[in-house]
């Protein structure tokens, strides 16, 4: 099930899946001299907690880039660390590694893997080129799409899928921007034209994209 908040819940396995949390992105920016509001981790963790309370999963999978950089997992504020620990009490956390966080400290609750398979599905950070032999859930690209409506253009993060083999999740982190689905990096993964599901306040909006075309 795709949740309009930008996560996936798999009832059969009682599994909740997030992509690209980019925790501590503000702290990473601060190290480079941009003092962004340091409340991003808190915001992301609160949004995760809300979904955990709703679905009560036994397992949580984060599809990589969970921390914006390697220092991130260590720089969490004590209060945020507490938030994470509370969630990990009720569900087993699996951290898939991403390009931003190629390694994660052992102090993190749950276990850390390069990728993860369960049943017919494989969970990895970045999609593998070509048609996956099994069902693949991935993140990495932060997909977003623009839909022209009445002379305006609405741009939102979105899920992207070919309908049966591959599902790309939008980034869940508070400060994560996006890459348009028409960009070759995403479009080449969906050669037959992707279906997209734009995130809405209470529901998703579905559009079928033509091969290599822009939204709607």
């Amino acid at each position: 099930m795709l949740d309009p908040a930008g996560a996936v819940f798999w009832p059969a396995a009682s599994m909740l899946i997030f992509a690209d949390l980019h925790l501590e992105k503000a702290a990473a920016a601060a190290r480079r001299g941009r003092l962004l509001p340091p409340y991003d981790s808190r915001t992301t963790l609160d949004r995760m907690a809300l979904l955990l309370r709703h679905y009560r999963p036994t397992r949580v999978v984060a599809l990589g880039d969970s921390f914006h950089d390697e220092e991130g997992a260590l720089s969490l504020q004590p209060a945020d660390r507490q938030r994470l620990a509370l969630m990990a009490d009720g569900a087993a956390f699996t951290w898939v590694l991403g390009n931003h966080d190629p390694a994660l400290p052992e102090s993190l609750p749950g276990h850390v893997v390069p990728d993860w398979a369960e049943g017919p599905l494989v969970f990895r950070h970045e999609a593998r080129a070509g048609v996956p032999p099994e069902g693949e859930l991935c993140g990495h690209h932060h997909p977003k799409a623009s839909v022209p409506v009445r002379g305006l253009v609405v741009t939102r993060p979105c899920f992207v899928t070919d309908g049966h083999r591959r599902l790309m999740l939008p980034a869940f982190g508070a400060y994560t921007g996006g890459l348009d689905v028409s960009d070759a990096a995403i479009a080449s993964l969906f050669p037959r034209g992707p279906r997209i599901f734009l995130l809405g306040r209470e529901r998703l909006y579905h559009f079928q994209l033509a091969r290599g075309a822009r939204a709607a």
């Binding site: 795709l2 992105k25 009445r150």
Partner: protein, 852 residues
């Protein structure tokens, strides 16, 4: 007095073209060499030029207010030229002298032009004066030389001044400064660029307290705040105000399109044939319009009928700068007969021979109209001629009101607002980059700049704190602070990287993300806003730079286009492009309408229109608020004749529809024009007086504003100016995208976790002015209390017809993005006939994705 003595700028540009007039006596205060120079040309200085010279010599700052063509620029420079001519030659081994005179202009092009024109007196009198410009375009080697041996007269912009002040050589460069000339100061005061400049001036005052400021301004409504802006103490102390009497009032006529007088529309295209006739009859005509889209459309329509192929060009702010310069050069050389222009030609150099100005569409304000009209015939004592071309009936009323306003010299425009805290943040970082400073001294310095005179110490500390460590309640960034304090309390910049970041981000103009337009692989045509391009698909046709273009593809930040194309073209529009009707003009329009004795000034169809309105409904009074309600097409319409300008009406529309919701009226949408607000609903509106009661500006407003895209846009600008996020550099875009954080996301997070943050305060202060016009709205609600005139009709009234016609064209407010997305989704499904299982599922709140 006619001829070349009229305007020094004009004189400097075109002295050789005019015959000398008879030579009157010269004033005593002019040194012989200058007197001879004037005499050789048969000119004599104007009285105010001598007044400025004498005031500046006495050590007083000067605010010179003179209409266009008043010889302002030479007034500013004359004291410097004389002082520099009389300066003793330095000893051989003396260190190089610093800049003597600093000239600041809002336009780069203006600085360059003035520099060129200044060379005439300098070379002709053989004065030992070096004149140079310094802008963003100045090559690196010349910048280096300017730092080592500064020119005597430096012409630059507010941004470049900030940059110069942040360098450690600034005290040496400016220690000999004696004169600061602020050109077009009316266009800077009250803007963020003006805020930045005022802080730079406060700094200069510390480096060179003897420097005299000479502010040059067009005629303005608010002289006292402008004098305060020019003053060194921020209070208007030691400023001599010199005013030049206005020239003969301009002769304004109103030209209606032949045949039918349109009910609505703002483009004025129906008048294209008449405009062309007028162009034929004059030498050079500037045709001013209100928006870039209007410029493009009118240009197309005129060229369709321009059988004599008169040279008529187009000029607006989105065109490539080289294209604009070409048009300006052609004007100066007399190769053009007409130019269709937006406010891009409101300011700037004089081109001499403009014979006629045509304003197409509503003038919106008296001051603005005067400025535009002043573009014609830059000779002060001659009457300038201008033609107003209203595009619809309401604009006829507005044109007539403007004509009377001009005759009564009723200038309008807002008084300068307080300085932006985001600009202050930028400046404080700049101060630290220049040299370590004590907060007490910096506070004393910045409060001597008029826009920041009222800043209290707590606010100052909050801004400084923001620059230092982000100013967050959660003290997360102790290690990453940008400033640090030494044991004496001096504030230092943390490292060279912070200083570099500052210098890369100086300035207060934040462009919306722009996409460059390129013709094939060839010339760049200009820029359009990113959102416009994102709505195009390959093959779509649109108008730009007076051409019909076909969209080919988007590559990074450049859109490739080709000539030609088919299908109805679109026209790029730009956010916030339209100015609202000014208060003064609105009062006049209301007065004209409510008083039938003034109607004979109007053309027949307008008189008839008003008469039928009086018969069928009622006329808006000079002081009340007429509200009509009527059923139409299964809906109820409510039309309120507020005349408070589009921005105030937008805000009112939002508040009103929320209130209608609570009253159970079932509002469906609204549309705002400069004159009226129309809302439509499922049920008949009732309790009109309660609907419009003043308390509607309570909590609804804050909640709506906080969510609105307008506030998000404002926040983005504030965050860039304050240095929270980097401005987008052309070319670097692609790499940056991965490191920049979308300002909307920051806004949401900050608002939730620290709603009293200094940047949010700055955002609110910005938003409460311009785009929401809250002051004007609350003023109206108060004024009409107990004076709401509700008329219930069984059908649309004559006066309501224009806005009802507008409903089809304008983007309808009040529909959230969510509804629009749902609509788009349903439309696509309908069009493709795709009603398979996935679509049905997608419309349920959660979508079940099965992997097979």
């Amino acid at each position: 007095m006619a001829g070349p003595t009229q305007d020094s700028r004009y004189v400097l540009v075109a002295m050789s073209r005019r015959r000398p007039a008879a030579l009157p006596t010269l004033p005593q205060s002019l040194p012989p060499a200058f007197a001879a120079w004037f005499a050789a040309r048969g000119w004599r200085p104007r009285p105010h030029q001598i007044d400025v010279l004498e005031a500046a010599r006495a050590g007083s700052h000067v605010l010179l207010i003179a209409p266009t063509g008043g010889g302002k620029t030479l007034s500013g420079f004359l004291p410097s030229l004389i002082a520099l001519a009389e300066r003793p030659v330095p000893a051989e081994d003396a260190p190089p002298r610093g800049v003597h005179t600093l000239y600041l202009s809002p336009l780069k092009a203006l600085a360059t032009d003035i520099a060129r024109n200044l060379m005439d007196p300098v070379t002709e009198m053989d004065l030992p004066i070096r004149v140079e410009t310094r802008t963003g375009d100045t090559p690196q080697n010349r910048r280096q030389r300017q730092r080592e041996t500064p020119p005597d007269i430096l012409l630059t912009t507010p941004e470049s001044l900030s940059l110069l002040l942040s360098l450690d050589g600034a005290p040496t460069m400016f220690r000999d400064l004696r004169s600061i000339i602020l050109d077009e100061v009316h266009a800077l005061a009250g803007t963020k660029r003006g805020d930045l400049l005022s802080l730079g001036l406060a700094r200069l005052d510390r480096l060179a307290p003897e420097a005299v400021r000479i502010g040059l301004s067009a005629t303005v409504a608010h002289k006292v705040p402008l004098a305060a802006y020019v003053s060194a103490d921020g209070q208007g102390g030691n400023v001599t105000l010199i005013e030049v009497a206005d020239p003969a009032p301009p002769d304004l006529s109103i030209m209606l399109p032949a045949g039918h007088l349109p009910w609505s529309g703002h483009m004025g295209l129906a008048s294209a044939p008449d405009i062309l006739e007028r162009v034929k009859a004059a030498g050079l005509t500037i045709i001013f319009v209100n928006t870039r889209a209007q410029a493009e459309l009118l240009f197309q329509d005129i060229w369709k009928i321009n059988e004599d192929t008169l040279p008529i060009a187009i000029h607006h702010g989105s065109l490539d700068v080289h294209q604009r310069r070409k048009v300006e050069a052609a004007m100066a050389e007399g190769r053009l007969r007409g130019v269709i222009a937006t406010s891009s030609l409101d300011l700037g150099i004089d081109w001499g021979g403009v014979d006629q100005v045509i304003q197409v569409g509503a003038p919106k304000g008296v001051s603005r109209l005067l400025q535009r009209v002043g573009r014609a015939n830059h000779r002060m004592d001659e009457t300038s001629h201008a033609i107003l071309v209203p595009a619809n009936r309401f604009e006829v009323l507005e044109c007539e009101a403007a004509r009377q306003g001009v005759a009564a010299r009723e200038l309008d425009g807002d008084a300068p607002r307080p300085g932006g805290l985001d600009v202050l943040a930028q400046h404080l970082l700049g101060l630290a980059c220049a040299a370590p400073f004590l907060p007490d001294e910096a506070f004393a310095e910045i409060t001597r700049a008029a826009p920041f005179a009222a800043v209290d110490r707590a606010t100052f500390e909050a801004v400084l704190n923001f620059v230092e460590n982000g100013g967050y309640a959660l003290a997360a960034y102790e290690r990453y602070r940008k400033l640090f304090r030494d044991f004496e309390g001096r504030v230092h910049v943390r490292n060279a990287r912070v200083a570099r970041q500052y210098r890369m981000n100086i300035g207060t103009i934040v462009e919306a993300p722009m996409i460059k337009l390129r013709l094939g692989r060839g010339a760049f045509l200009g820029e359009v806003e990113e959102w416009f391009v994102s709505g195009l698909t390959a093959g779509d046709t649109f108008m730009f730079a007076g051409r019909l273009l076909r969209f080919v593809r988007l590559r990074e930040t450049t859109a490739e286009v080709a000539e030609g194309g088919s299908g109805p073209p679109r026209v790029p529009t730009y956010a916030g492009a339209r100015l609202p009707l000014t208060t003064g003009l609105a009062v006049r329009v209301r007065g004209l309408m409510s008083n039938p004795e003034s109607w004979p000034a109007f053309p027949e169809p307008v008189q008839e229109w008003l008469a039928i309105q009086r018969e069928r409904s009622a006329l808006p009074g000079a002081d009340d608020l007429l509200v009509e309600t009527f059923p139409r097409g299964g809906r109820w319409y409510l039309v309120a004749y507020c005349f408070e300008g589009r921005n105030a009406h937008q805000t009112l529309g939002m508040l009103l529809t929320r209130r209608m919701e609570r009253f159970g009226i079932g509002p469906l949408g609204y549309v705002a024009t400069d004159y009226v607000l129309a809302a439509w609903s499922a049920h008949e509106p009732h309790d009109i007086a309660a609907l419009f009661s003043q308390d509607m500006m309570g909590d609804d407003l804050e909640a709506w504003m906080a969510e609105s895209s307008m506030l998000r846009r404002t926040f983005r600008n504030v965050a860039v100016v304050a240095g929270l996020i980097d401005r987008q550099m052309p070319g670097a875009e692609r790499n940056r995208r991965q490191v920049t954080v979308n300002s909307d996301l920051i806004y949401d997070v900050l608002r939730r976790h620290q709603p009293d943050h200094i940047l949010l305060r700055a955002t609110w202060a910005d938003a409460a002015g311009g785009l929401t016009d809250l002051g004007r709205l609350s003023g109206m609600l108060q004024r009409v209390r107990g004076k709401i005139h509700h008329v219930i009709l069984d059908r649309v009234s004559p006066l309501a017809v224009p806005v009802i016609l507008d409903i089809g064209r304008e983007h309808v407010q009040g529909e959230a993005e969510e509804d629009l997305l749902a609509e788009a989704e349903a439309l696509v499904a309908e069009a493709t006939g795709e009603e398979h299982a996935e679509n049905v599922l997608a419309r349920s709140p959660r979508f079940d994705l099965r992997f097979t």
